[in-house]
Amino acid sequence: MRMWIYIVRRLILVVPIIVGVMTITFALVSALPIQDRLISSFGPPPKNAPCGYSPVCPCSVFGLPQAGNCTNPLYQRDVNKLGLDSPVYVQWGIYIGNSLTFQWGYVDNHSGASSADSLIQGEPVATVLSWLLPYTLELAIFSLIIILIVSIPLGNLAAVYRNRPVDQASRVISFSGYALPGFLLGTFLLMAFVLGLGPTFNGEDPTCKAQSFFQVFYGSWPSQLCYPNGQWPSWLSKGVITTPTGFPTLDALIHGQGWLALDSIIRMVLPALVIAYGTIAGLLRFVRNSMLEVMNLDFVRTARSKGVPENVVISKHAGRNSLNVTITVLGLTFAFFIGGFPVVETIFDLNGVGRMFVYALLAPYDFGLIFGSTLLFTFLVVFANIIVDVLYAYLDPRVRLG
């Protein structure tokens, strides 16, 4: 019962944060020139609009007898919709209302993003992002699994066997992981593979050698040059299924395409490793330090004096308590974790919200996508923090009271 109250209270606390984030993006959006704002909010002007979004137009275009310029009704209407000539708080209200109802604008036809991916031209931003979110989520879940599986046991071991080889190894990992951000590590890895360090599929053609190994792990399908007789390997098929759930792996499984699901997972291995490496670097030290602290606490001594075998003392008594700190730190570094997605998705050419964000940064910025992706990522961070807090309350009964 207390748990539910805690969850509800936590959810209520989220609202001001979300509104606050939207306020920040509102502040930034307000600094944009009006033309950009109009395009990103309502999409490109319809074809039959004579003057587009310009504020004034020669009156003759509208069939009016006066000379000179008249105000463009399209412009006027859109400005009214956004409240641009109203006081700031009205604009703010309209913006928050739009954001909360997922009306994040439209993709600009002439932006870099549209030229990179023609499918998205003119679509609402929220819709585009909803197509891509499952890919990012799959990658995120995969990375998180790797992170948890590696960092918690390794950190515990590093604390228990302090200053011994395990500890030194964990230190190497955490230091190097800090100094190798996404693009450095990714590029180093790719250079290693592409420069011929991978296994040979068919020995002669080095192009094929590099390509085939590379292609197994990345988005593109192998060119038919590389395989004898131009045959595809049987387990690679030629598509990605996105019904009903939108998650490629799940959908492949639902449709019974085991190999396709396996392929989609294999494609995420390297990117997940790169993302996980960065996060593990930070987390490992924390896990180790918190475990060291916990091992010196009184109740561990009590458990030992009860006759509990040592491995149970470490794993059950000490481990459970250090898990709290670990989970909290994971929540705090979630923002940093998410920030690695644009780079990794770009390097490894995966679909996803991160890559769309990068496309949005190509030559003419697509502000709708930029701010939309930012909001989406922030929602993810906030959501993850909620989960972390709830998990923390579940693990530590002392928290449930307050």
Partner: protein, 387 residues
């Protein structure tokens, strides 16, 4: 440490001013004693010392590069005035239809074709040093040269300078906000911490990008010099919440210490209390975070350039992250990373590996040495590791 012996819990840090009486004789200043102790622990930590040594080398390089006789913009003018192709995108000299006309800081490969792996040096023009680090080249169709060695040296300047500026400003703002929030408590604390939470919920990279993307359009930031300021302002906006949160946590603890009570009892008012007692004792955790951030920021800059975001005023900018990131796109003239790699030939990859390796290595060394130092600082300043 003897088990089971009851000891009073160790205070978080030596109180900066335990008893505010006039100094008589030679009583040691506790703050200096604290610094000495920290230095003693740092010295014992091999990794931290390695980090410090490497950082000192970087600082020396930066100073050396500062005093190079030819500044950046002057090079551009020199190229232009000597009748070469107008400098494009920050190149120093250009190669046009068979003849290479190098400028004072330009190296020439033996065959003149830019994609050779092992460039040699033309000593007659070497003013910035003999290291055979090669050059960054643009697409094979329009090759231009750019001195990697010069870039490495200059990059030191940039990485250190910009990082220190950002970290210093951010820490200052964060310190103020955190101290106010922690000291006054109540609704001030709540409100400020909510704001900090909001800022911290937005992933750093994205936040920096959107801030800079919006601010770059503002007319105040157009001139070249102001672009640097734009960078710093953008980063500071994103970074100050980290410090605010750390400082507030520490202030909350320091506030309860006995010496603060003693100072209050002897009549210290709000401002004096904050300035003289609370802030000096709350800054310690910031140092660790500051040193970590000094390492992270150049990495972040590189990531931004990698994402295609025009952080710097020109494309080929002498900064490690920029050089490393752009080397990926440069050789292929391709628009995506995948395309760039797809045209890779065995052995002569169109990512000119030397263009990526040296700046990348410098970045890595810099970051890891900073991390060593930060880790050593953390261990040295941690009061719970009672020795």
């Amino acid at each position: 440490m003897s088990a089971g012996v009851t000891e009073a819990p160790a205070p978080l840090a030596e109180p900066a001013e335990a008893v505010p009486v006039a100094r008589r004789g030679r009583r040691p200043n506790p703050r200096i004693a604290q610094m000495k102790r920290t230095w003693y622990f740092l010295r014992r930590n091999t990794l931290a010392m390695v980090g410090i040594v490497i950082l000192v080398i970087f600082i020396l390089i930066a100073i050396y590069a500062l005093f190079q006789p030819i500044p950046w913009t002057q090079l551009q003018q020199e190229c232009a005035s000597s009748g070469l192709y107008p400098p494009v995108n920050g190149c120093l000299c250009t190669y046009s239809s068979g003849t290479v006309s190098p400028g004072p800081n330009c190296y020439q490969t033996p065959s003149g074709y830019p994609s050779d792996i092992a460039p040699t040096i033309d000593f007659s023009h070497g003013t910035l040093g003999p290291l055979p680090l090669g050059s960054i080249t643009t697409a094979p169709s329009n090759p231009t040269f750019y001195n990697i060695y010069a870039g490495l040296l200059r990059g030191s300047d940039w990485s250190l300078g910009v990082s220190v500026a950002i970290v210093g400003t951010g820490a200052l703002i964060g310190l103020l906000v955190g101290a106010i929030s922690g000291f006054f408590g109540g609704w001030v604390d709540e409100a400020l911490m909510r704001i900090v939470d909001i800022f911290l919920s937005i992933p750093q990279i994205l936040f920096v990008i959107i801030v800079i993307a919006v601010l770059v359009a503002l007319p105040v930031f157009q001139p070249f010099g102001m672009r640097v300021a734009l960078l710093i302002v953008g980063f500071v906006i994103v970074w100050w919440p980290f410090y605010a949160r750390i400082v507030r946590g520490q202030v909350l603890v320091v506030r309860e210490q006995k010496y603060v009570e003693a100072a209050k009892a002897s009549g210290a008012g709000g401002g004096r209390l904050v300035l003289r007692h609370i802030i000096p004792n709350s800054v310690y955790p910031i140092f660790v975070q500051m040193s970590l951030d000094v390492g992270t920021i150049p990495l972040l800059l590189g990531t931004l350039v990698y994402l295609g975001f025009p952080v710097f005023p020109t494309i080929y900018f002498p900064e490690w992250g920029s050089m490393a990131a752009l080397s990926v796109y440069s050789g292929a003239g391709a628009s995506t990373f995948t395309d760039a790699l797809l045209t890779c030939q065995f052995g002569t990859c169109v990512i000119p590996w030397w263009q990526f390796l040296f700046p990348g290595l410098m970045l890595f060394l810099y970051a890891i040495s900073v991390n060593f130092l930060a880790d050593g600082l953390r261990d040295a300043l941690d009061p719970r590791l009672r020795r």
